[in-house]
Symmetry: C2
Subunit: 275 residues, 2 copies
Amino acid sequence: MKDINRRQAVLMTLLAPVVASAADPQKEAKVGDTDPGSYLNKMPAAWSGSEKIGIVIYEHMTPLDVIGPHYFLGRMRGAQVQFVARDPSPVNCENGLVIEPTATFDTCPKDLDVLLVGGGSSGTVAAMRDTRTIDFLADRGSRAKWVASVCTGSLLLGQAGLLRGYRATSHWAFRSLLKDFGAIEVDERMVFDRNRATGAGVSAGIDFALALVQKLRPLDFAQAVQLLAEYAPDPPLHSGTPDGAPPEVVNRVRDLVASFVEDARVLARSARPAR
Amino acid sequence: MKDINRRQAVLMTLLAPVVASAADPQKEAKVGDTDPGSYLNKMPAAWSGSEKIGIVIYEHMTPLDVIGPHYFLGRMRGAQVQFVARDPSPVNCENGLVIEPTATFDTCPKDLDVLLVGGGSSGTVAAMRDTRTIDFLADRGSRAKWVASVCTGSLLLGQAGLLRGYRATSHWAFRSLLKDFGAIEVDERMVFDRNRATGAGVSAGIDFALALVQKLRPLDFAQAVQLLAEYAPDPPLHSGTPDGAPPEVVNRVRDLVASFVEDARVLARSARPAR
């Protein structure tokens, strides 16, 4: 409830000394509440692990870019999933979804097994312009076991210098931008090059995460999670790629995103050196 | 940040009179922040509408069940999407995702174009036992233009009496339960019967939402959103259904959810009459 939040923000400011310890950025990041009573907790020990996963969230991002992968990564018993934001305040994602961070750039574990960032529209461009966001990605990305993006999240990795010299993919309408960031553009739904893992647009994050889970856990676990997700897709339309969609629809979507592509191209000129 | 929330909760209680107006349940529900600068705002007028969409969220639910559909429904320009919860406090979904409601059962619009509820594991069973949740679903569901569920969200619709006499689907492991709620079980990825719209497990919500968008907006809009989502799925494994997965994986997943199925079957005996 936005109004309540604003009031809370005011109260928090007035009562800052009282709550200082709770807001201490040195304090260890909390993992979001997990459900001790979940029927799914009884997974066999062979399927367990202890990965640290940081999912970066930012204003006006596209939630499905990361919530698709979150289903698969979050099902990994023992993994610690953090939703990491610039600040502790709730993040307004696209189209009305408000996510509360479980960690900030300050409290996020230093060494991640998976650093994942999704895309968006103007929110992604704003994040590309934000030095703190790019610094965070460059820092955690320089040490993470897997540096991963979905959709235009690849532009954020690119801005942080994390894709220079790597084969990578992105949303179809933005893929040609990858070379502006020093990456090698690959026209695939997912690309794994050394420890860089990039997915194509939005829904590609689901295929991509299922492949990533196979690299982190046993094959039969990945199969079980796919079965739990009933992931046997069957789209009722066939307009998911520029080749499949009617040309006038492709042109309309290209028009919609044209200035986004242009803005990102300009920003690429100030992208960081390789990490 | 959970600790901060707990402190805020205490502060809110102490300072209740100060913040009473913000918490007034009669106040109109707020729509989550939308991005006035989004590159995607320039959609043609023919693609606009004004649907009221209520996505029900509850503790320990599976976020992807509703965030898949949210991508497609949320892209409908002019639609008002609400994430509706029992209370205004943040909702701990499965595996660390915390969503902040934009409306409560009290502030949610009375007449919805789409009432959507997703599933989960123990969280869904807890919600089935919660009279306020079932009352809310029965009330809004009795008037909504579309009454929709993904995955075990169908058990919640069933508990509210909303599936009696309707053809419906659910997650494959729970589909046989539908007749316990007076529904006609259909072994399909999505089922539309009059104004009841049910999807199969988790990821089926994406196929389902794309079909629902076709019923609400022009075909070329649905095609454009599919293209924006790059929804041309290509799973790297083929274990999404019991027929496709190795038998030992199917057995293991059946074992994991066996007591969930049993608990839901018992609850079905107290399901509401038809709405």
